[in-house]
Structures are given as structure tokens and as C-alpha cells.
């Protein structure tokens, strides 16, 4: 009886102490805007690109990647998407066209990574408007990496850029056209693909920068197509009737994704996969 009382603190506090040891750093959250996390979940863009480069694509080989977007608050679907993508043969990597998180919290970005790191292939992202809320941009930078970046794989240069103009209250600087133009001028690869979250025909794209962006794309002879998320549904077309193809991704909740195959100068094929 008395010994029960004497051991009582340890009985009550032992599970707490165990929890403390297991996950205290992540659980001792200073704020939902706190973007600290384990080292393995920092700089994920660089880590995934390093993985991609371990399997280089020889010049002239066909490029094949999975294209999806808007994983925000769809964790059940993320689990199923990973299972489905892991059954695809010959896909080289996966792209999420923004809105990794719903509230711009680091923990949400890590939850998505908890699933996507189970992919057999590397994945890369571009920032979405929901990732920009509050201190989301800082969380994205810490967990994924730069808001504007590019990488070459095989014959293709992928240009990933922040087009979430409304999140900057339409300051006339998003997308960053000097950077975009510089990237498009690069002639070291056979073709270009530019990927961002908000499509230029959308009301969340800064209207003051729309013409400059659309014109720059039209004038790039290497551009195969432009890709976006944000609308949560697939579409393909030439919204500006200028010969430039714009492709929009499914959101995770649509339980579909695209497999994009690219060859030749600009030839491509899209395959829809349900999961």
C-alpha cells in the first residue's frame, strides 16, 4: 500500500519520460511555425537531387516522371499514392507542383515527407500559396530548399519558380522575372520545362507580371511545356493561344496522377494513373 504510493510518481511519470526520450525534440514544439526537425528532413530538395543524380539519364534517353500537386492535408491519399508510384517501372522521379502543406507549417511538410520518403524514386517540389502562409516560406526553405531553383536531368532543364503572387500581395516581383529569364537563356540543355504552382491564367498570379512571364515562355525555343498545380485538377491546353502548352496537375485528393514521358526535341505523352 505505502510502497504503491512511493512508486506512484515513477508509475505516472515513466511513460512521460519515455515519450520525452523518443520524440522530445519534435514534440517540444515552440510554435506551429517552428520549423526545426530531424536532420534527415532538412534540405530535402538538395538531398533528392543528389539521389536523382546517382542514376543519371544518358543523353538522348527518354525522360519519364510522375507529375502531381497539392498534397495539402491529404495524408491518407499520400500513403496510397506512394504505393501506386512504387509499382511504376521506369519512372525516374516525382514532382509535386506546390501546396505541400495546407497551413504553411513545417510539421505538415514533414508529414508529407514521412510518406514520400518511402518512394523508391526521389521527389522534388515547388512552393505553393499554402506553403507561403504565415512563416511557411521559411519552413519550406528549411525543409525543402530554395523557392526558385533549377536542375538538369538528361536532356532537360527543369526550372522551378515561385508564382504565388498573391502571397506577396502582388508586389510586382513574383515570379522573379530576371531569374526566370536568366534560366530560360541557358542553352546548355536540349529542352526546358518550367514548373510553378499558380498558373499564369489564374487570378492568384500577379497580373502585373503575367505578360512578362507568358512572353518569356513564348520566346524560349527550347521550352517543351509549362506545368502548374493549384487548381487540383488535370487540364492541358494553350490558354494564351501562342503555341505554349500548359499542363495542370491533379490534387492528391483526386486519387490520380500523371506519368509524363518526354523524348525528341519537345515530344511528350501523358498517362493518367488512378490509385
Amino acid at each position: 500500500m505505502r510502497s504503491f504510493f512511493r512508486t506512484l510518481p515513477s508509475r505516472a511519470l515513466l511513460p512521460a519520460a519515455a515519450a520525452l526520450l523518443l520524440g522530445s525534440c519534435e514534440m517540444l514544439e515552440f510554435s506551429p511555425n517552428d520549423h526545426r526537425g530531424p536532420d534527415r528532413q532538412q534540405d530535402l530538395t538538395a538531398k533528392n537531387l543528389a539521389r536523382l543524380n546517382q542514376n543519371p539519364l544518358p543523353a538522348g534517353d527518354t525522360l519519364r516522371f510522375v507529375f502531381t500537386g497539392d498534397s495539402q492535408r491529404f495524408y491518407d491519399e499520400a500513403e496510397d499514392l506512394v504505393k501506386s508510384v512504387n509499382q511504376q517501372a521506369d519512372v525516374q522521379f516525382l514532382i509535386i507542383a506546390g501546396d505541400i502543406s495546407d497551413f504553411g507549417f513545417g510539421r505538415e511538410m514533414r508529414w508529407v515527407d514521412d510518406h514520400l520518403r518511402k518512394l523508391k524514386i526521389p521527389y522534388v517540389t515547388v512552393i505553393g500559396n499554402h506553403d507561403s502562409v504565415g512563416n511557411g516560406r521559411k519552413a519550406y526553405e528549411a525543409i525543402f530548399g530554395p523557392l526558385n531553383y533549377s536542375f538538369a536531368y538528361g536532356d532537360t532543364k527543369f526550372i522551378m519558380t515561385d508564382t504565388n503572387g498573391r502571397e506577396y500581395n502582388f508586389d510586382g516581383k513574383i515570379p522573379n522575372m530576371p531569374w526566370v529569364n536568366q534560366e530560360l537563356r541557358d542553352t546548355s540543355t536540349r529542352r526546358h520545362v518550367i514548373i510553378s504552382h499558380v498558373p499564369p491564367q489564374d487570378e492568384d498570379f500577379d497580373p502585373a507580371v503575367r505578360d512578362a512571364y507568358v512572353t518569356a515562355l513564348r520566346n524560349d525555343p527550347r521550352l517543351a511545356f509549362e506545368m502548374n498545380g493549384h487548381r487540383h485538377d488535370f487540364s492541358i491546353g494553350e490558354p494564351f493561344n501562342d503555341g505554349v502548352t500548359y499542363i495542370n496537375s491533379y490534387g492528391f485528393e483526386k486519387r490520380q496522377y500523371l506519368i509524363v514521358t518526354v523524348w525528341g526535341d519537345k515530344q511528350f505523352r501523358l498517362k493518367k494513373v488512378q490509385f
Binding site: 505516472a12 515552440f30 510554435s31 512563416n135
Partner: protein
Amino acid sequence: MVQRLLLAALAAAPLAALAGPNGPATLLPDTTGTTPTTGLNPAPAQAAPADPLPWYRPRHLVAQTGGGLGMVAAGAGYSLKDRLDLDILIGYVPRKYAGSRLSIYSAKLLYSPWTLPLGKTQKWALRPLMVGGYFSYTHGTLNDEEPNQYYRGYYWFSTDTRVGPLLGSRLSYALPPTAKGRSRNVSAYYELGSNDLYLISYVQNLKGLSPIDILTLSLGLKLDI
């Protein structure tokens, strides 16, 4: 799986503490005891009743870390019948952890149904269960809705205002009473919590998220004044 078991253990810990061989009745003093004031009643230190304090005077000081309320958060609070605590805290998060320097203003309300005296000296006491919730407002976030930035209802959630549940335990040690005879304790506590947006994320993704994903932990100290 291990995490789910751990979570269950955490949730059950306060109950396990209560479920002695003979149930809660064993918490009453045993037959050799002669002090009817112990048992379920709080305040192991048996000081004489002091002058009543004015209602507005805080009864304790608090300092804690984590729980989404700051790297450090400090404040003061009130107690009702030693069971219901209302704490008002101001928290701070440096730029390097959150991208900007944040101040977090919060209020916590916690109810502790039981206070268990521990040991012969009655210096120690355990509140095995504290249950309650918090409200917090964060100042200093970077992209924080300027006028006309969004149309009405663009984002349905608040970036800066959070509410969430809390569950914890608290261990107290009786300090010598004050000069005026009021009993005083210093306590250490932990609280497990979450917030509205984490909870919504979990409830809609019972397969894709585990309960421990959405938990936050606070560790704190409380000093009666």
C-alpha cells in the same frame, strides 16, 4: 505501432496511477492515520488559514517550454479551490527556429480533479491528471494578411490564433509557508497537447497520420506566491 502503444500508455498513465489494488478508496488515509485533513484534499502543508488575498492577485508564477506557446513562456496564474488553474503566458521564439521572432500570448485553463499526497512527510503531492485547453495568439508572423491581400474566405483558417486541448500531470513540493502563513508549493509539470489545425489534419487522415504526429509537449515549473 510502438508510438500508438506509447500514446495509449500516456493517456492511461493518470488512470493507472489511480487504480491501486483497492481502487480510488485506497487514497483515503489508512486506519492508522489520525489526520483527517489528508487524503483527497490538497495542500499537504497544514498551514493555518491566512488572510484572504484580493481576487485579482496572481496566485502563482509559471515558466515553461514547448507546447506551441514559445521556446520560453512565462507568466502568472490564478487557482480556484486548488483544482482549476488559469495561467496567462507570454512566449518567445527566436528567428532561427521559426523564420521570424515570434511573441505568443496564451491562456491555459487546467482542471486537476485529484491531488495525491506522497510519502510520510507529506511534502510531495502529485496531480496525476490535469485536463484542459489553451488559446494562443501569435504576433510577428511574416505573411500575415495585409488589407485587400485576399478576398473574403480565401483561407478559412487563422494563421495566428490557435486553440487546443491539454493533458498532463504535475508534481508538487511543499515549500515553507510564507510569513503570513500561506502554504506554498513549487511544481513541475508536463502537458501533452495539440492544436485545432493538427487535430483536423488527424481526424481526416486516420490512416495517413498517427496520433503521436500531432502531439506537442510542454515542460514547465510553477511557483506559488
